[in-house]
């Protein structure tokens, strides 16, 4: 039956292509992570959070081979580090997750003598880090930003809705099917809690129940719960409004220009106040290559490298040396780099403890299943 010839052809072609691609690229055959032989470094970071050229440059300058892995949410990253099935050398979690990891004794202290470039980080952010890393022993800031609303000016005009100014506007019936919310328990609840004038770190059951009910009420208006796709969907004109991180703005505005679109996307920090977040590099306790990990952090804090990264990721950098090298136009972009008064109205996430985390998770499940 022709099946035989087909199978044999498949087998032959596969064998051939395997040999060819195997010879062409040099695949990292490292099956088990966490090996400390032959100059390896295992990095665990958010998606699209580094310029790939930076990794190549690091490898060339130091001779260290980098294995770069991605995660999508803090909640997804934590069990991987905790269970230790895979041991990463350097990870980039967010503020409250770093606090949780410190309290659960999962991080190693950084030897700052090996990371002199820490002086390049603006002291204001080192100060801010004290909220989750009280003695500044475990983390080095990488990116920071705010969370806000992005809206499509012409779509709003079509719907007859005024430009948004507050979280409460996301419950407007006229925006049915046009709202993109973040698919993350803390970020979704932050929107509802702030709208109600509560702290985003509350463990008060009544406040949380109210927030949950509000989110359930909002659900019919929500087009989708997304994370990074909010950017492409807004550019594609799929939705009128979305909750987004400040770091996406430069990229979005450039894409809008490149595509010659007839609408503009504007960013606003809601009146009720919003979340200020900080992503920092930490070294897990079970890291096998701590020395290389410190070299990595040191490398990324170099002003020229930080600037190069910023130009690719477009997320605000806490690196003063890099900031000084930027164009004035970017420096003065208030959406990307807000001024101090705005920042003072923002709150940083705290780790709330396992019990409260479970309450949040269960409430979020209720929202999702309704």
């Amino acid at each position: 039956m022709k099946l035989n010839l087909f199978s044999l052809t498949i087998a032959a072609i596969t064998a051939a292509s395997v040999l060819l691609t195997g010879c062409g690229s040099s695949p990292s055959q490292s099956g088990s992570a966490g090996g400390s032989g032959s100059n390896q470094l295992y990095v665990y970071n958010w998606g699209e959070y580094i310029d790939e050229d930076v990794i190549t440059q690091f490898e060339e300058e130091t001779g260290i081979q980098v294995t770069y892995d991605l995660f999508e949410t803090n909640e997804e990253m934590y069990p991987v580090i905790e269970k230790g099935a895979v041991s990463y050398d350097v990870v980039c979690p967010s503020d409250y997750m770093i606090q949780k990891m410190i309290e659960n004794d999962m991080l190693a202290e950084i030897d700052f003598a090996q990371v002199p470039n820490i002086s390049q980080i603006d002291p204001a952010y080192i100060e801010m880090s004290k909220a989750f890393d009280p003695e500044n022993k475990y983390s080095v800031p990488y990116c920071w930003g705010t969370v806000g609303i992005i809206y499509n000016t012409s779509r709003l005009k079509q719907l007859g809705v005024e430009p948004l100014v507050s979280w409460a506007n996301l419950w407007d019936d006229r925006l049915s099917g046009e709202i993109l919310m973040q698919d993350s328990v803390r970020d979704a609840f932050m929107v509802a809690l702030k709208k109600n004038g509560n702290s985003m770190n509350t463990s008060d059951e009544k406040e949380l129940e109210l927030a949950k009910q509000d989110l359930i009420n909002q659900k019919p208006l929500v087009q989708a719960y997304v994370i990074d796709q909010v950017r492409d969907k807004m550019i594609g004109g799929e939705a009128a409004v979305g909750v987004i991180f400040s770091g996406e703005l430069l990229y979005i505005q450039e894409e809008v220009k490149n595509l010659g679109l007839d609408y503009s996307l504007e960013y606003v920090l809601p009146a009720e106040g919003t979340n200020l977040w900080l992503d920092s590099w930490v070294i897990p306790k079970n890291a096998q290559n701590k020395v290389y990990a410190q070299k990595w952090i040191e490398f990324l804090c170099r002003p020229d490298i930080a600037k190069k990264n910023f130009e690719y990721i477009t997320y605000p950098t806490p690196n003063k040396g890099a900031f000084d090298l930027l164009d004035d136009e970017v420096k003065n972009n208030r959406s990307v780099f807000p001024d101090i008064e705005t920042l003072n109205k923002c709150e940083v996430y705290q780790y709330l403890g396992d019990e409260t985390d479970t309450i949040y998770n269960n409430l979020w499940k209720e929202v999702k299943s309704n």
């Binding site: 087909f6 934590y78 989708a224 997304v226 594609g236 799929e238 269960n362 299943s369």
Partner: protein, 270 residues
Amino acid sequence: MNKKLLAGPYLIWMAGFIIIPLALIVYYGLTDPPGAFTLANVASISAPEHLKALFLSLGLSLISTVICLLLAYPLAMILRSRGVGDASFIVFIFILPMWMNFLLRTLAWQTLLEKNGVINGILSFLCLPSQSLINTPGAIILGMVYNFLPFMVLPIYNVLCKIDDNTINAARDLGANFHQTFFRIWLPLSVPGIISGVTMVFVPALTTFVISNLLGGSKILLIGNVIEQEFTKGSNWHLGSGLSLVLMVFILLSMALIARYDKNGEGSGF
């Protein structure tokens, strides 16, 4: 040479990589983090959000399975009637999409169904109103049917091919019309294939989480999503395993069905 020994390597493999992992799921499902025996994990299926997810999954997968069956049966009959010579080629044409990556296929549907996607583009070109197709249960059903249709077609096609033309001709000679031939000959003889196809579609459809993420906008929580989240984000493996044990009930049901109706493996799609 005792041929039974040949099965030795497989039996060892089976013990190590099928039985033990299952035993672990049972262990995690029936204990709580400190390690004490508890039925709470399994009982948690009765929590409202879990029940909703389960019923939604059951509903969507049942609908998808029925649609698959209704689409696949005529298709299998037509393919069979096209003659044995071309059969291999035609069958491959229908399996070929399976060789494209599952995620990319589902993602491509996103492109088609989006508000500014290809389908709405065509509709607006024809001056028809645009439809909101994506992020709905309908989109999820579409995704399920699309991905699992080949699994329904193959077993039914195989079983239909085994039906001798002479049997059909004999029935016709004896005066049966199409209706009677179908219900009295085609259908009963194809039961093994139908059962095989139904199980191969129903179980994956019941437990998928990728399709509901990509085409449902994360708004629709299926039982597969719940379990996946407990393992990757919630870090509560015990709860996740408990819920998986509940799902296993459906799998055991399918196995019982197959054992009853398809003893000789006639309906295997291969």
